[in-house]
Amino acid sequence: MAPVTSTRRLLAGWGQTSPTVAEFVAATSESDVRATVEDAGPRGVLARGLGRSYGDSAQNGGGTVLDMTGLSRILSIDATTGEVTAEAGVSLDTLVRVLLPLGLFVPVLPGTRQVTLGGAIAADIHGKNHHVEGSFGNHVAAMDLLLADGSVRSLTPQTEPELFWATVGGMGLTGVVLRATLVAKPVESAYFLVDTERTRDLDDLMARLQANDDEYTYSVAWIDLVARGASTGRAVLTRGWSARADQLPRRLRSRPLHFAPRTRLTAPALFPSGLLNKATIAAFNEAFYRRAPREERGAVQGIGQFFHPLDAVANWNRVYGPRGFLQYQFVMPFGAEDAMRTAVERLSAAGTASFLAVLKRFGPGNPGLLSFPTPGWTLALDIPVTPELGRLLDDLDDLVLSAGGRLYLAKDSRTTAEALHRMYPRIDEWRRVRDRVDPHRVFTSDQAKRLSL
């Protein structure tokens, strides 16, 4: 077998904050993956998808990083059961494009379609439908995992529940997902019927969500964190359902499953560097809030508009400038509304220049041992890095901890091992499973080292 070639490369997460150098191997076959894992040096190896995790989850300084995006074939689709088997490096964007014409839809979509199947499993990602349909792992029927010893294990939640649920949410630390079978859901169109409401403040928002969120398949609120005083936490709430063909306006009815995302602009053209500051963000947020209808029912929206308003701008992460930014996302259980309010107040009082924050209600979690979603409220926001930020977020960690909440590994770039271990009560169980399949920690990441995973 030909040796797999690698190049030394500086790799960072989407926030561009803590780059490290690794041997970068572009795998194109299972045997590439196996050879790379078997050749792994003392600093280990890690699979990487499209690098959309914000922090240091997908990097492995001094070790090897396996680029999985070259393994991106779709292997089979069963249009009747919705079962799709594909290699782990395929993007959800590709899956959406291929499945829609067949009347199938990816069951969980995050805020960007530019993530891989493997990355979606490893982070057990959630979308706007978590409150009723759960996270990504709930929709995975099977996967093939390449282990530290080079062997491949076929996992299903029925036959190998332990390793399956240690891998879902396991951040690439149990092995390399080679391929997986996802159960897509049937849809009649590529459109959504959307109800939009503007809320006065955070309490108003949470009350509306508590009242009738479960009537909607998809639900998310955008909070304006620049607004202060009485309007602290004012938001635009958008909720909806996948549209049936007969609910579409006439002009769309002839091709209900048509999906053609617009070509992407690049960020620098939109935001010359340095343009992003408190004033421009305040103006942006104000416009976003004002532009939204006070109340609107049943508007027809496409996938891009409804799911990924930011995907239309390629590389928008660069607008935050060379020092990078991070995303802070936590969940707090139902009943912790006071702590939630405190968190929102602190964030808006700190005046961290931030675009809109996203708030959502999570439904029940799944058996994933390190899976993030648990029933409650989740808040996510981008924050450009400033000197005082570390302290503000350490304090918020304390608040999250005392409310019984947790942070999301796919977004974290700065918490402590101690805090994280307290947030994930099943972490010891997860470590036992991991130690069994990878006793020598062949699979590791900068994040795993930082947080002693």
């Binding site: 500086l10 926030g15 490290t20 570390g390 302290r391 930082r450």
Partner: protein, 251 residues
Amino acid sequence: MMDAVGDVQRVLVLGGTSEIGLAVLRRLAGRRRPAAVLAGRPTDRLDAVAAELRAEGHDVDLVHFDAEDRRTWAPAVEKAFAGGDVDVVVVAFGILGDAERAWQDPDDAAALATVNYTAPVTMGVDVAARLRTQGHGALVVLSSVAGQRPRRSNFAYGSTKAGLDAFYTGLREALRPEGIRVVVVRPGFVRTKMTQGMPAAPLAVDADRVAEAAVSGLRSGREVVWAPPPMRYVAFVLRLLPAPLFRRLPV
């Protein structure tokens, strides 16, 4: 690895009893308690510093080396990295020496050159190799304004700092493509034990001010840090002065 907001997990201080080195460690720590590796001569003072840091909540490892004894340098670096990745290495050891003896007594001159130049350069080479192996890390090096234009009053010392500064400035460029950062810190007169009894020069600072500047430089991506910041203009002017004028300055 230095995280997104500049917090670190393990710091190596070469010159483990250096006031500036320890001030850098404490500034880097903030409210967290990164592990510390203190490298220095096996003295009571080193043990006392370790005890103090442990009381503050740091995990402390001690590594012994003597800047005058070359045989101790490489093993010290090796041992410091054996305990895990090092996120920041602070090169903080050095001596002032006796300015008049240092240019008249060959042994004095050699000792000053060894401690202030040969040792930090040799150890810097070892440290750089290890940072490259781990794929991340940063170096903070205590240079001095005295190296910018050595004066009659302490030019032997100034010459060692000039050499040190040049080496690490070059190392910074060599390590740049690997994502490893080198911050060269150029303080003016620092009020420490080392300078006790000497008349403080204008723009004198204390160790913590130097540390603050060094750490903010490290976190914001600056490559050269002056302490206090106006020192850069002073140094700029001093470098431009014609020799006859420079000679007559009371500094």
